[in-house]
């Protein structure tokens, strides 16, 4: 039973399209995140939600919009996709916002924008 699951695993789309990535955690965690791993392999935080409230929104284009319908779900919607959006996107969760909390990651969504 997967703790943090995200779908789809692969997403290939054309420039200008709108797409969504879904994430669900069954760990009962309060905090969820979206991370982006770009071509240089850095894992960078994009969004953090705690109990459905946005805690941090790193400098990402407003074409990216997270939505948290409940504590167990954090979806990522991307409008007007650009070539530079191609990356692997990871969803993660943690028990709470404590900095010593372990993050549990999903298996990633590889987004390719053509």
């Amino acid at each position: 039973d997967t703790a943090v699951s995200q779908t789809p695993k692969y997403l290939v789309t054309q420039m200008g399209n709108d797409k969504s990535i879904k994430c669900e955690q069954n760990l009962g965690h309060d905090t969820m995140y979206w991370y982006k791993q770009d071509s240089k392999k850095f894992l960078k935080i994009m969004f953090s939600y705690n109990n459905k409230e946005l805690i941090i929104n790193e400098t990402v284009p407003n074409r990216f919009s997270p939505k948290s319908p409940d504590k167990a779900h954090l979806n990522l919607h991307i409008n007007s996709l650009e070539l530079g959006d191609s990356a692997v996107y990871f969803c993660a969760s943690s028990r709470d916002r404590g900095r010593n909390e372990k993050l549990f990651f999903g298996s990633g969504t590889q987004l390719s924008v053509l």
Binding site: V4, T31, Y33, K40, K41, F42, L43, K44, I45, S48, I55, I56, F90, A92, S94, D96, R97, G98, R99, N100, E101, K102, L103, F104, F105, G106, S107, G108
Partner: protein, 113 residues
């Protein structure tokens, strides 16, 4: 601006020997450090952590050493096993919430049988 640096993109060791993965950081406000391990097509998984009040933390075959004055930490794996072959990410956090965690770009470890 790379606040967490893993300068070796890859490392290859023989099974049974020690693997040493290194990590340097530049932000003196970092005082909590973690290592994550990632297999292909999977997300990173937590491995071990250390607080700045310690200089060593051990968990089975894995030991993390912290040298605050040098802003350097290392992960030792003894003995290395083929199943340890993965990408290892170093991460660091200043005081504050988990959202402030900063990752390095990872070191790919290959353990040869």
């Amino acid at each position: 601006d790379q606040q967490v640096k893993q300068n070796s993109p890859s490392l290859s060791v023989q099974e049974g020997r020690i693997s040493i993965l290194n990590c340097d950081y530049t932000n003196s406000m970092f005082d909590y450090f973690l290592w994550y391990k990632k297999y292909p097509a999977e997300g990173p998984t937590f491995l071990i952590s250390i607080s700045s009040i310690k200089d060593k933390n051990e968990d089975g075959r894995f030991t993390v050493f912290l040298n605050k004055s040098a802003k350097h930490l290392s992960l030792h794996i003894v003995p290395s096993q083929p199943g340890d072959s993965a990408v290892y990410f170093c991460a660091a956090s200043p005081w504050g919430g988990s959202e402030k965690l900063v990752f390095g770009k990872g070191t790919k470890l290959t353990v040869n049988p």
